[in-house]
Symmetry: D2
Subunit: 331 residues, 4 copies
């Protein structure tokens, strides 16, 4: 991200240069060695091209770091997954489904309910990352087969999480898109295994990952063979107990509007509260998200995991209608 | 906020009760004493009325804490400041102006530019909280007089920050609304002094304040005489260097959509980046903000403070148009 | 969230009960349903046995949650790894070595330097978790063999990180203790694979893991076969750029002094600054750590990773002498 | 952000220079403009003098920022308050007393108990910053008089918090040292008022203040007349509910050992848990704290504030003995 050193010409008016940098939206710190003045540009500054700075009177040089993620920088703006396009500025893609796949009947029911509501991707956990070893860990391979059939019947595509290196290959045979979860964003062995499976990947941000670390995880995926990476913001760890996580829509705006990367938002994990999923879905789209990943359960009382943050299917309809009304249209 | 203890009837099926609680969007922890089972409801659960829980089969009792902020709970949903209404669901109010008031000419120019763009409140610092004691601290009382004249000429109202107990009284004579800044949210002596001035107050959230602490600061204001409190989210301290702060739109949605409190958003401080102010303004409105507080500078190169996050007046026009297009209409 | 619910006897003086709870070091929130009063005890309260509360006049019942990590609770206080004991109150164990193993000569040199200084475990990365896919990823299996030989020559034991499920088995054949790194604390597939290898495990805390989540990761290990778990605090993500991480010695004191669990501290990652490793090592021992895990490099200028936080071997000597002087004696 | 820029000589081996920087404990980012190479040194690097870097072969220049707090840099290493010296490396000063002063009898009892235990300063709140407006706010001026008499009787000095600009003058007449609390660290009007009272000041760190912001608050104090500033770490806001705050002993080590500033630690607020106050007191001293500020209450059951984190006087004795045993001796 933005991180520059601007060197002032010998004898030039450093204060005037500083003014011009600030005028262009840069936060700078003046550094000096004898008569030589540099301005170090802080990372939370507006993005700017070095050429624009070189045109300022009194600027001698602009030094930049090499990008640590050249493959991600070179990824086309639009990532196609089967028949669906993800990209900043494109109509948003709705991805919905239960936290866990609990039975074939359940996933078929959900798929049939969601398909007419503008949903494009069925999401659902076959393998579940659970904080407690005693919690339900997913029905595994069987659940995946149920999900594939349910999706095909309803004309949906599938995104599902890979938790183990050993599973990446066979999950890739059934799923259209592989998900790397928050807890595994820094799991480099898994990133490599998932990448080698050769599918597009939905990469969730780690619970306390900086944006730069997240992009480096995406670089791992692309370097090792992933067919495109879509990022997913799902909330970072915060200090306030009134929401489960702290949804970082500033990062979403930064990635989508400044860096033109495809980023979707998971408002279910982002807040953990059913009563906030709708407003934050709208906010995510307004910030520039190119998609939403939402938990839905036909009968949350009997959900085997994360019931409190699941929407009822009717609320997905409300959200899709809302997206359509806002002129961005769920496709 | 939500924080309940649900006690299960002796002999009832505790697992079934748990399912019903989860189905209603509650995160619960089972606590037991002999045969007695309680469910402690975690704070990041959906808001719910105790009566709804009492209707569940097997629930014996629902214990709740007394609200720590009864006056805030009793505040009418709409806070009127002069001719302007702030309230969840009402058309959003645009508040804009320079970080610091630098001269009478500057503030008159800004006011004249902003008034036709749908802006209702002129904001501007006469007294500035600056991290460094050597930074420009504001022109003080003189600036306030300039601002009042500029606002009157252009038909705008004024909101400005009070930093010292000693200033609250005379600022209240000139300003329509008094602002308590982030750095002073926990400054109880100031809260009392500002409250006693008898004006409506714009209360910014502290940099690391929980929502509950923020509401308690509002309670201080109301208890000591403030004529209504409007909350202002401006980003909390985060760990990512790519934005200056981390804008917490989950808190905005919680306050506006669940608790029906008037909350405005300051996207300028929220990110510190000029290139993110517009998308986060839109996101804030989508999340439920009833207003925006935006920094504008006619000539950011020569701003005496916070230039990098200020918009040009033309961008305010874009934002107002955008608000109008979205059918929410800057008034 | 509360971790105890104290119910007041019908008709008893709730205020008096509250006073008694506070006197015992508990932070409480009063919850009420009609005449029934409960006190929810907050998590950041002093640890206390329910029986002690039941003896308070006016207390009817004390409800508690089931422990989510029964196997960890049942683990003996002392975890033996080969000839070395880890346990709260035991003399601390020094574990030291280079971030990465770079050559057989390097690791032999380091081992020979460290053994006379009171070091018991040689640490060193054969497989390295690196934020960038372009950074050096470790020499793998070869490095492990070098390390084993070097350790045997110098009479040291080995602890080394497992990054991939596929590697757990063969690493377990060469290492005395397996390390799960911060980035993998939530990687449940790896936790299971490492556990099945049947060695004792050094479990680092995740970058933003709560203490409870960390203990649940330890429970995964024990449930799936690990021969004892030693915890390792290495700093959590903070907001201050002056240290690389924020070392949480409060968590160390809590685990060692209150819960009597073996916890070692990694002051190298904890701060990232060579000039803070020594004082924080001393602080860690004072807080109750039963060991230290320190990065050492004989020639930090040419370190392939994390050179800036490595100590020179002479500094390890200083630390060991210091430990001995403090009467706790590196063994 | 970088705090140094190292420029490589034209034609020199930049990789070799990088190695030399790393060897000296610096984290660097390579920045380039054409053939010119700079290394930006990150803030979490070891402290180093520019001269040392200039001696590296291939280094052309080292640019540095001007210190933002020249007066603090120039403050003598030892801050004398009456007959007591605070300074890195000096024997630690014990400051203890009740959170709130509740009656003259209470404060006299506490003072008499503490004086023989090696305590030098009586602390106690006459004016209390309380999150809730309905909580006990302190007995004010009366309490101060009681405290002064109690201290004089027992040969103790006094430190007490100033919450309002209006109170600074009269509190300064009675107290030996004025405290600025966490909640007011960013309250610049109060910093000025307290400074003008001309006493030495104990400056607590704000709940989410960076070290640099904290030092700038100290600079405010010195610029406006304070007779010396002693810093006080009391825990920052964290995400883990098992402690009330997260005590940042890395910051303590940085300030005391690297910058040679006097810093004391408040382990009571630092954790909020009585069962962690002792181990964290020891850890604070090991990290380099030159004093402790501890809450004590003769009868915590009836404390009007913060009872759960107060020690009994006997525990202060244990702490003092411990300090003496460690050879650092409470004076």
């Amino acid at each position: 991200m933005s991180n520059l050193i601007v060197t002032v010409k010998s004898g030039a008016d450093a204060k005037a240069v500083q003014g011009q940098l600030v005028a262009r939206g840069l936060w700078v710190v003046r550094m000096q060695s004898g008569d030589r003045v540099h301005f170090a540009v802080e990372r939370h500054s507006r993005h700017i091209e070095p050429a624009e700075l070189l045109s300022i009177e009194g600027v001698a040089e602009v030094a930049t770091p090499a990008s640590p993620h050249p493959r991600l920088d070179a990824q086309p703006e639009v990532v196609r997954v089967g028949k669906t396009d993800f990209g900043a500025g494109l109509p948003p893609v709705m991805m919905a489904g239960p936290c866990s796949i609990e039975s074939e009947a359940q996933i078929r029911e959900v798929a049939a309910l969601l398909a007419p509501l503008g949903v494009r991707f069925l999401r659902g956990g076959a393998y579940k990352p659970r904080t407690s070893p005693y919690a339900f860990q997913g029905h595994g391979e069987g659940a995946l087969t149920w999900m594939r059939r349910a999706a095909d019947e309803s004309g949906l595509q599938i995104v599902t999480e890979v938790m183990s290196e050993a599973d990446a290959g066979h999950i890739a045979e059934l799923a259209d898109m592989l998900q790397v979860g928050s807890r595994n964003m820094h799991n480099y062995a898994l990133l490599k295994a998932v990448a080698r499976a050769g599918r597009p990947v939905l990469l969730k941000r780690g619970m306390a990952a900086t944006v730069e670390e997240w992009l480096l995880a995406a670089e791992y995926l692309l370097l090792h063979g992933a067919r495109g990476v879509v990022l997913c913001e799902r909330g970072v760890r915060g200090f306030d107990p009134s929401t489960r996580n702290l949804l970082d829509l500033g990062a979403v705006a930064l990635l989508s509007q400044v860096h033109r990367l495809p980023v979707v938002v998971d408002p279910s994990h982002g807040t953990g509260r059913r009563d906030l999923v709708l407003p934050l879905s709208r906010a995510a789209l307004a910030a520039g998200a190119c998609g939403l990943l939402v938990e839905v359960h036909p009968d949350p009382a009997n959900a085997l995991s994360d019931g409190p943050q699941a929407l009822a299917p009717a609320q997905i309809g409300e959200l899709s209608a809302d997206m359509a009304r806002a002129g961005r249209g769920a496709r």
